[in-house]
Symmetry: C2
Subunit: 334 residues, 2 copies
């Protein structure tokens, strides 16, 4: 644990709720590049505090993407000079972003689920929870505020987005049961899931077109390498938020042990995202290329012409996973 | 309701369980082109009946795709001459397929959730349930059999696959709560979801490559038409089960009101799948082309060269949805 402020400590649910009840106006801070969990958590908590008669405003360093309009349009924040500050789903004050960095040292309560939390405020931290929204749901119950459809939709958004719609390994029984509680309220879960998970921007689609056409397969398809060059990104018009999750594509192809995405950051400098299943160790491969990470997901940066970078990546894969050349006949290596 | 056999009637959970308990050996029938719900339901029910000391075998007209190996490999069926027959998730005896059609008139109990069920046996039919596996879970509880990890994985597979991993509008609170019960047992839900939802065959990927490159956009991207020609299918090597869900791709592009997939069935004959959101009616469009269907999903068959078929489809869209030309400025038409 890397405590920014040694005086900051863990608080329990009851103490966090006492803190929230004690303040009469709250500025709720979300992290930059906002996602469904920070926004859903903040909007749900904000609306619940308003129902307790407090003045509330939710703020974010970045413009909130239009796809969250069903959350933002359901809220009407108050105009006031804040004296209390709460951060939700913000593991480190640096993640508040430029616009909100001035508030970093004012935060009284941080509600979060990231194991990497840096303790910059009183911390209500449930590391086992798949989403901060699950924890906000506990707060709202403890505060005695009844769920409204708008609150339930915000909470559901956090739970669904941080679990890949209940797909990832962090999804547990509690998360499903909490989602069920939200559905009991009567929320538009199919609309939310369509907007969060199905819809792709035209720019994203164009980039996927080009990226799929450029995938290089090696060793009977057990290795797939997908380049995302500066030209491809430029020609597709893709923005940063159009590129989310692209790195998982190569490993989603049946039979692929090692999937790599080579993203050209600037001229001839490639950020490499390596993804592996049980048959290869992504960290071992990336370590050979000067990077590191986890067994299933690792990264490194390699400089050179695309073809040279590709050759170096394949070389590292072959060194770290020599059995990839011959394979082992398994049909479902996951 | 179209009752094949007027003598066949609805039975309740208790009566269905009495029937199952009364028989000492059971052949459990699944539908052809087996999916996660028919297989998960059949394997879960079969294993539960085995735990009650009965002889059981699960059968299918088709070869079970390798991705279900984690279900099939966990079962060891018995060798016996069946005298009792139960169909699961089979709405109509014709869906049993060629290999099993001889059993159609022997089925004593049908456990199903399809509103289109044709009543060819005593029917335990819960039309409100998102998956037959949910109903099989109720049966297993009623039979007093304790869930094993293998049974829970089979049931979870049915629930997850029939709801698009808890994404579709049929997902309700009960379904989430039942999934939570499965997770309580300790199942490999992340492995299952990866195999069911993330992994694409190389052939599928190749076909997607070509299909994405061929998408035609009209009216500022409010209409997207994706051709799947005989040549594309042949060149990708795609088999029928590689093509599942392809028709939803055009409508998943941001801003698309009308998404159409033109699949060439044989030379110059195109099966058209039309998908729309709230701003257009797919059935209205397809009716103009001699087809029909539902408001959000409809179909028709059009003969001609691809370019002519495309022109006719666009013409029908423009006639049925005249406002698509100018648009209405909305950013999230879903």
């Amino acid at each position: 644990m890397n405590k920014i402020n040694p005086a900051c400590k863990d608080v329990d649910l009851a103490a966090a709720c006492e803190l929230l009840k004690a303040g009469d106006n709250w500025l709720i801070l979300t992290h930059q590049y906002p996602d469904g969990d920070t926004l859903g958590s903040a909007y749900a908590l904000g609306k619940a505090l308003q129902l307790l008669g407090k003045k509330v405003r939710v703020v974010c360093s970045d413009v909130i993407p239009g796809k969250y309009a069903y959350i933002t349009e359901a809220a009407k924040w108050d105009d006031f000079t804040p004296s209390h500050y709460c951060a939700v789903d913000v593991a480190d004050p640096r993640l508040l972003g430029e616009e909100l960095e001035a508030y970093a040292m004012l935060v009284e309560l941080c509600v979060d689920h990231h194991a990497s939390n840096t303790y910059y405020a009183e911390n209500l931290l449930y590391k086992d929870y798949a989403a901060t929204a699950m924890l906000v749901y506990e707060i709202i119950k403890e505060l005695g505020v009844e769920l409204t459809p708008a609150i339930a939709e915000a909470l559901y958004t956090g739970m669904a987005t941080d679990t890949g719609c209940f797909r990832y390994s962090n999804t547990d029984a509690l998360c499903h049961r909490m989602a069920a509680d939200m559905l009991d309220i009567g929320i538009r879960s199919d609309y939310i899931n369509r907007v969060m998970f199905d819809i792709k921007s035209r720019r994203r689609m164009e980039l996927e077109r080009m990226a799929l056409a450029a995938i290089h397969f090696e060793w009977d398809g057990r290795c797939a390498v997908m380049p995302l060059t500066v030209d491809m990104i430029k020609n597709s018009g893709a923005l940063e938020n159009d590129m989310e999750g692209l790195a998982s594509i190569p490993r989603e192809i049946e039979g692929v042990w090692v999937g790599a995405t080579l993203r050209e950051i600037d001229d001839n400098r490639f950020k490499i995202s390596m993804r592996t299943g049980s048959k290869a160790n992504a960290c071992d491969i990336c370590t050979l290329l000067g990077g590191g990470g986890h067994a299933a997901a690792a990264g490194c940066t390699v400089t050179g012409e695309l073809q040279d970078v590709l050759a170096r990546v394949l070389d590292a894969v072959k060194t770290a996973v020599p059995q990839i050349e011959a394979g082992d006949g398994d049909e479902y290596p996951v």
